[in-house]
C-alpha cells in the first residue's frame, strides 16, 4: 500500500499569515483591523473612503466583523455574531486580478486545478454605505468562500477609477481547508487551540447582550448623539473622525435591530439616515483628496 504523507493542516492563524504574506508581495499595504465595531471589512475606512477619489491604493487586512442578528449563542456550527473577514482592496482594479486571486488560494492550499472554482453572479449593495458593485461570490466545490466585487458606487458617488474588493470569509475558508463541520472545531494554531477555546464564551455572552440585555432606550439616545456628532464633524470638514462617529451609529443600529425593536418601516428610515451621513462624509473626504 502506498501511504500518503499527510500534509500538516493549515491552522486558522497560518491561513491569515499566508494571505497577508501573499498580498504583501503583491504590493498591498498590510493594515491591522480597524478599532471600531463594524459589520464587514468594507466599512474599514481603508476601503470605504480610500475607494473614493482618484488616488491609487492597495491594501489588505483582517477585519473582525460584527453581525448582532447572526448570533446563535454559540449553538449553531455555521453562525457567529463576530467573525473574521480578510479584505483586499485595489484601486484601480488590476488586469490580472483573477490570476492574483486564484494564486492566493494556492497559497493556502487550494489548487484551482483540483477544485471546482466558480464565479457565480452576485451583485452587491450596501444601503447604509450608499454603495453598489458588480461581481461574484466565488464557490469552491459548491461552498461560497469569497466575495469578489468591482465597486461602481460608494457613498453615493460614482467610483472613478473602479476599485476591486476581495473579501474572504476566513472561517468558511478554514472549515473548507481543515475539513471541519463546525466553526468551533477549527484549529487555531499548532498548539491545538481551537476556535471554540477562543470564541465560544464570547458568542454566548454577546448573543445574550445583543438579543436580551442591550438597553434599547439608551441605545436609541446614543444613536441620536452619534448622529449629531457626525453632522457636526462633517461641518468641520474632518472626514475621518466624522466617519468614526457614523460607524458607531451603524453598530448601534445593528444592535437595536437584533433586539427586535425596530419595525420594518423604521428600519428603512434608520438606514436612510446612516446613508445620508456616509454620503456627506464621502463628499468631505473627496474634497480633501484633491
Amino acid at each position: 500500500m502506498v501511504s500518503k504523507i499527510k500534509k500538516k493542516t493549515l491552522s486558522f492563524q497560518d491561513t491569515i499569515f499566508n494571505l497577508q504574506k501573499y498580498w504583501s508581495k503583491k504590493g498591498c499595504v498590510i493594515l491591522q483591523p480597524y478599532d471600531l465595531e463594524v459589520g464587514a471589512g468594507t466599512f474599514h475606512p481603508a476601503t470605504t473612503l480610500r475607494s473614493l477619489g482618484p488616488k491609487p491604493w492597495k491594501t489588505a487586512y483582517v477585519q473582525p466583523s460584527r453581525r448582532p442578528t447572526d448570533g446563535r449563542y454559540g449553538d449553531n456550527p455555521n453562525r457567529l455574531q463576530h467573525y473574521y473577514q480578510f479584505q483586499v482592496l485595489i484601486k484601480p482594479s488590476p488586469k490580472e486580478i483573477k490570476k492574483m486571486y486564484l494564486n492566493s488560494l494556492s497559497s493556502i492550499g487550494i489548487n484551482h486545478e483540483e477544485h471546482d472554482i466558480r464565479f457565480v453572479e452576485d451583485d452587491w449593495e450596501s444601503p447604509t454605505l450608499g454603495a453598489a458593485g458588480l461581481g461574484w461570490e466565488v464557490w469552491c466545490d459548491g461552498m461560497e468562500v469569497t466575495q469578489f466585487t468591482y465597486f461602481q458606487q460608494m457613498a453615493g458617488v460614482e467610483c472613478k477609477p473602479v476599485s476591486v474588493e476581495i473579501t474572504y470569509g476566513l472561517e468558511r475558508l478554514c472549515m473548507f481547508i481543515q475539513n471541519k463541520k463546525s466553526v468551533f472545531d477549527l484549529i487555531w494554531n499548532d498548539e491545538g487551540i481551537t476556535y471554540k477555546d477562543v470564541f465560544h464564551q464570547s458568542e454566548k455572552e454577546f448573543s445574550a447582550y445583543n438579543f436580551e440585555y442591550a438597553n434599547t432606550d439608551n441605545l436609541f439616545k446614543i444613536f441620536e448623539m452619534f448622529e449629531e456628532e457626525t453632522k457636526l464633524l462633517v461641518e468641520k470638514k474632518i472626514s475621518l473622525p466624522a466617519y468614526d462617529q457614523c460607524l458607531k451609529c451603524s453598530h448601534v443600529f445593528n444592535i437595536l435591530d437584533a433586539r427586535g425593536v425596530i419595525s420594518v418601516a423604521q428600519r428603512a428610515e434608520y438606514i436612510a439616515r446612516i446613508r445620508e451621513l456616509t454620503k456627506s462624509i464621502g463628499k468631505v473626504w473627496i474634497e480633501s483628496q484633491s
Partner: protein
C-alpha cells in the same frame, strides 16, 4: 466566400447576461449585413461560455459592389464654403460637380461612380460600433476605463477570411489571439479560423457551443437516471443557467444523509436548486431521493468536488433541519398576536391588521362558495404566522408553503393547510393555479386586500414602474376567477374590502378606489386575454363597457367567439349582423329616432314577417337563459338567422319609396342588431 469569426474574452459573465449579449450581438451583426447589403449565411450563430462570447458568420463575399449614385450637395445659392466642404467630403474636384434643378430649387450634384469595397474594410470600420450597440441588461466599468461591459473585457479576437481584422474597441486592440486558460488568463494562442478554434478547445474538453453543452449534460444525466431508476424534474430555467455557468461540463452524482428526507421536500429542493444549482432526483413515485446531480466545471479526478459539494449540502440541510425542528412545534395560533409587531406596509398597518381584514373578507366569500366559515377564518388567522419563522427567514420564496407544513404538523384541517400553502398562488400568468375552494378563497382575499390597500394609499403602478407587483396581483385575481369559473360579485367584494379598511380607521377615498381599481382590473383582463391569444377586436368588443362582475362572462364569450369566428356559426352570425348594421350606419339619422321595435302591421311580405318572427324567437331564447349560458349554443342560435336574413336582403328593398315602410324596415334591422348586441358587441368586430 469567407467567414467572420469574433471572440470577446472576459471575466465570468453571468448566465442571463450571456443570453442577453448573444441575442444583442446577433441582432446587431445581422442589421449590419442587411444595412450594407452584404450577403451572409442567415443561419449563423452566436455562442458563449462564461468567459467567451463568440460570433461566427460564414458565406460572406469578400467584396461588395456599390452601384453608382448621384449625391446631392448644397443649394447653388449656398455660401461657397458649403460647396468646398461637399467637394472635400466626396474626395473629388470642382470639375466633376454639376448643377441640377429639383423641386426645391437648383442644387450641386456629384456622380459617385460604381465601385468595389472590401468587406474586411467595412468590418474594421464598423465592428467597434456594432459591439458598442450591445444593450446589456446590466453592465459595469472597471479600472480606469470608460467602457461598459457585462464583466471586464480582456481581449478581442477578430478574423475575416482567415486574416485578422484590426480595430480598436475603447482601450482594447483586436488581434488574432486569445487566452487558452480562462482561469489564470494565460497562454495566448493564434487562431485563424473558427473550425480550428472549436477543435482546439474540444480537445481540451471545452465546448463553446451552449446547445452542445446542454446536450452533453442532459445525455449524461439521462444515462445515470436510467441506470439508477430515477427521474429528474423538467426544469429548463435551471438547466439553461447551468449550461451557461460551465464550459467543460462534468456531471457528478452526489448524495446526502437520508435522515434529511424528513424535512419538507420543498425546503430540500429549494436549497439544492436555487442556492446550489444542483439537480434533485425523484423516484418513480415522484418522491424526492437523497441523490442529486452537481454539474462541475472540472473533471473530479481526486474526488474533491464531490466531497466538497456533499459537505456543503449537509451543512445547509443541517441548518434547515435545525430550524424545521424548532419552528414546527411553535404553536401557530399562539403566535398570531405577535403579527402586531410586523409591519405589512407603511400606511396599511401590521400583518395582524391584514389578517383581520382577510378573515372578514374570506368569511364573506365563504357564503358564495358554500364552504365552512369557521375553517376559512382559521386559515386566514394563521396564514401569515410563518413569516416570523426562521425557515421563511432562510427561504423567503417558501412563504406560505412552510406555513402549510407547520399547520399540517400541528394537526390543522387538511383544507386549511392546503389553503395556507397556496395562499400566494397564482403568482402571475405562468404560475400554478389553486383549484380547491378554500385555497381560492384565501388567495382571493389576500389579493383583494392588497389591491384595495395599495390603491387606497395611492401606490398604483405607473406605465413603466410597478415595484409592488400590483399588475401581477390583478392578473392573479383574474386568473382565480376566470380559470376556476367562479361567479362572484367582485364589485361588492371591493366595496366590502373598503369598508373593512374603514372599520380599521383608514380614511380612503372609497369612490375613487372603486373607479380606479375597476378600470385597472378591466385593463388587466384585456391584457390577460391578449396573452391567451384572443383577437384584439374580440377583446375590445367583449370588454366594452363591462362591469367588474362580468369578467368571467367576458372571458367565456371571447374564448367562444375566438374559437368560432372562422367557423360557420361565427362567420354567419357576423355576416348577418354586418349586413344589417351597414345599412343602419348608412342611415345614421335613423337610430336617433328609433322606436326600438318594428310594426308588424306595416310588413309588406313574408320575408319581413319571417325575419321578425326569427328575431323574436332569438329574443325569447335570451330571455329563457338563466344562470348558465352556453355561449356556443347562443352563437349557434344567432347564426341560425342566416336564411331569414339572406332571404330578406335578396328580396326586400329597404329603401322603399314610402318613407314609413322604409323606416319600419330599418326598425326591423335595428331590432336584429340590438338583439345580437345583447350577446356581444359585434360592431367592434372586424369582418
Amino acid at each position: 466566400m469567407s467567414e467572420l469569426f469574433v471572440e470577446l474574452f472576459s471575466e465570468e459573465i453571468p448566465a442571463r447576461l450571456q443570453v442577453n449579449a448573444r441575442n444583442e450581438l446577433k441582432k446587431n451583426i445581422k442589421n449590419f449585413f442587411i444595412d450594407n447589403q452584404i450577403k451572409f449565411n442567415e443561419n449563423f450563430n452566436v455562442y458563449s461560455t462564461p468567459n467567451r462570447l463568440v460570433l461566427h458568420v460564414d458565406k460572406i463575399p469578400n467584396e461588395i459592389k456599390l452601384s453608382s449614385e448621384e449625391i446631392k450637395g448644397p443649394n447653388v445659392n449656398a455660401p461657397e464654403k458649403a460647396l468646398e466642404g461637399f467637394i472635400r467630403s466626396n474626395n473629388t474636384i470642382f470639375e466633376k460637380i454639376f448643377k441640377k434643378n429639383t423641386e426645391k430649387g437648383e442644387f450641386y450634384f456629384f456622380n459617385k461612380e460604381s465601385r468595389k469595397i472590401k468587406v474586411s474594410d467595412l468590418l474594421e470600420k464598423n465592428l467597434s460600433e456594432i459591439l458598442k450597440k450591445i444593450a446589456w441588461n446590466k453592465s459595469m466599468k472597471w479600472a480606469n476605463y470608460d467602457l461598459y461591459w457585462g464583466r471586464p473585457l480582456k481581449s478581442i479576437l477578430a478574423i475575416f477570411n482567415k486574416k485578422p481584422l484590426n480595430f480598436d474597441f475603447n482601450h482594447i486592440n483586436s488581434s488574432n489571439k486569445t487566452f487558452i486558460d480562462k482561469s489564470l488568463e494565460e497562454g495566448m494562442k493564434i487562431f485563424n479560423d473558427f473550425h480550428s478554434y472549436l477543435k482546439f478547445f474540444k480537445q481540451k474538453g471545452i465546448f463553446i457551443d451552449q446547445d452542445l453543452r446542454k446536450k452533453i449534460i442532459q445525455n449524461k444525466i439521462n444515462e445515470i437516471i436510467n441506470k439508477k431508476n430515477l427521474k429528474i424534474e423538467q426544469n429548463d430555467r435551471l438547466i439553461d443557467e447551468i449550461v451557461n455557468i460551465v464550459e467543460k461540463p462534468a456531471v457528478i452524482v452526489c448524495d446526502f444523509d437520508k435522515k434529511f428526507l424528513n424535512i419538507p421536500s420543498e425546503i430540500l429542493i429549494t436549497t439544492m436548486q436555487s442556492h446550489q444549482k444542483y439537480l434533485p432526483t425523484f423516484d418513480k413515485k415522484n418522491n424526492l431521493t437523497n441523490n442529486f446531480f452537481v454539474v462541475s466545471d472540472i473533471k473530479d479526478t481526486k474526488g474533491f468536488v464531490k466531497l466538497g459539494n456533499q459537505r456543503v449540502i449537509e451543512a445547509r440541510l443541517s441548518d434547515a433541519e435545525f430550524f424545521w425542528e424548532k419552528n414546527k412545534t411553535q404553536n401557530l395560533v399562539k403566535q398570531v398576536d405577535k403579527l402586531k409587531n410586523i409591519n405589512y406596509f407603511k400606511g396599511l398597518g401590521s400583518y395582524f391588521d391584514k389578517i383581520q381584514r382577510m378573515r372578514k373578507l374570506s368569511s364573506l366569500i365563504s357564503d358564495d362558495f358554500l364552504i365552512s366559515k369557521d375553517k376559512i377564518e382559521i386559515a386566514s388567522s394563521i396564514c401569515k404566522v410563518d413569516l416570523m419563522s426562521d425557515l421563511v427567514g432562510e427561504f423567503p420564496e417558501l412563504q406560505g408553503i412552510v406555513g402549510g407544513h407547520f399547520a399540517r404538523f400541528q394537526g390543522f384541517d387538511k383544507e386549511v393547510c392546503l389553503a395556507v400553502s397556496e395562499q400566494y398562488l397564482p403568482n402571475g400568468m405562468e404560475s400554478k393555479l389553486p383549484k380547491k375552494m378554500y385555497s381560492v378563497a384565501l388567495s382571493l382575499s389576500d389579493k383583494l386586500d392588497s389591491l384595495v390597500g395599495f390603491f387606497g394609499i395611492n401606490l398604483k403602478p405607473t406605465s413603466s414602474k410597478d415595484p409592488y407587483t400590483i399588475r401581477r396581483m390583478a392578473i392573479s385575481l383574474i386568473r382565480l376567477i376566470v380559470e376556476n369559473e367562479i361567479k362572484i360579485k367582485l364589485k361588492d367584494l371591493i366595496v366590502y374590502t373598503c369598508s373593512v379598511y374603514r372599520d380599521q380607521g383608514y380614511e380612503f377615498d372609497i369612490k375613487k378606489i372603486q373607479n380606479e381599481l375597476s378600470d385597472f382590473i378591466i385593463e388587466r383582463l384585456k391584457n390577460y386575454l391578449k396573452e391567451k391569444k384572443i383577437r384584439q377586436d374580440i377583446i375590445e368588443s367583449s370588454t366594452f363597457l363591462i362591469g367588474l362582475d362580468d369578467i368571467l362572462k367576458a372571458y367565456k364569450k371571447s374564448l367562444c367567439l375566438n374559437k368560432n369566428i372562422k367557423k360557420e356559426i361565427g362567420f354567419e352570425t357576423i355576416a348577418a349582423y354586418k349586413r344589417s348594421s351597414n345599412i343602419l350606419n348608412a342611415e345614421e339619422k335613423m337610430s336617433t329616432k328609433s322606436l326600438g321595435f318594428a310594426d308588424p302591421g306595416l310588413f309588406k311580405n313574408d320575408y319581413e314577417k319571417k325575419l321578425y318572427k326569427k328575431i323574436n324567437d332569438i329574443r325569447k331564447y335570451f330571455l329563457s337563459i338563466e344562470k348558465d349560458e352556453n355561449y356556443e349554443e347562443s352563437l349557434k342560435i344567432l347564426s341560425s338567422i342566416k336564411n331569414e336574413v339572406n332571404d330578406f336582403f335578396d328580396n326586400v328593398i329597404v329603401n322603399d319609396e314610402d318613407i314609413i315602410i322604409k323606416k319600419n324596415r330599418l326598425e326591423l334591422l335595428n331590432m336584429l342588431c340590438k338583439t345580437f348586441d345583447n350577446y356581444f358587441n359585434f360592431s367592434k368586430i372586424e369582418a
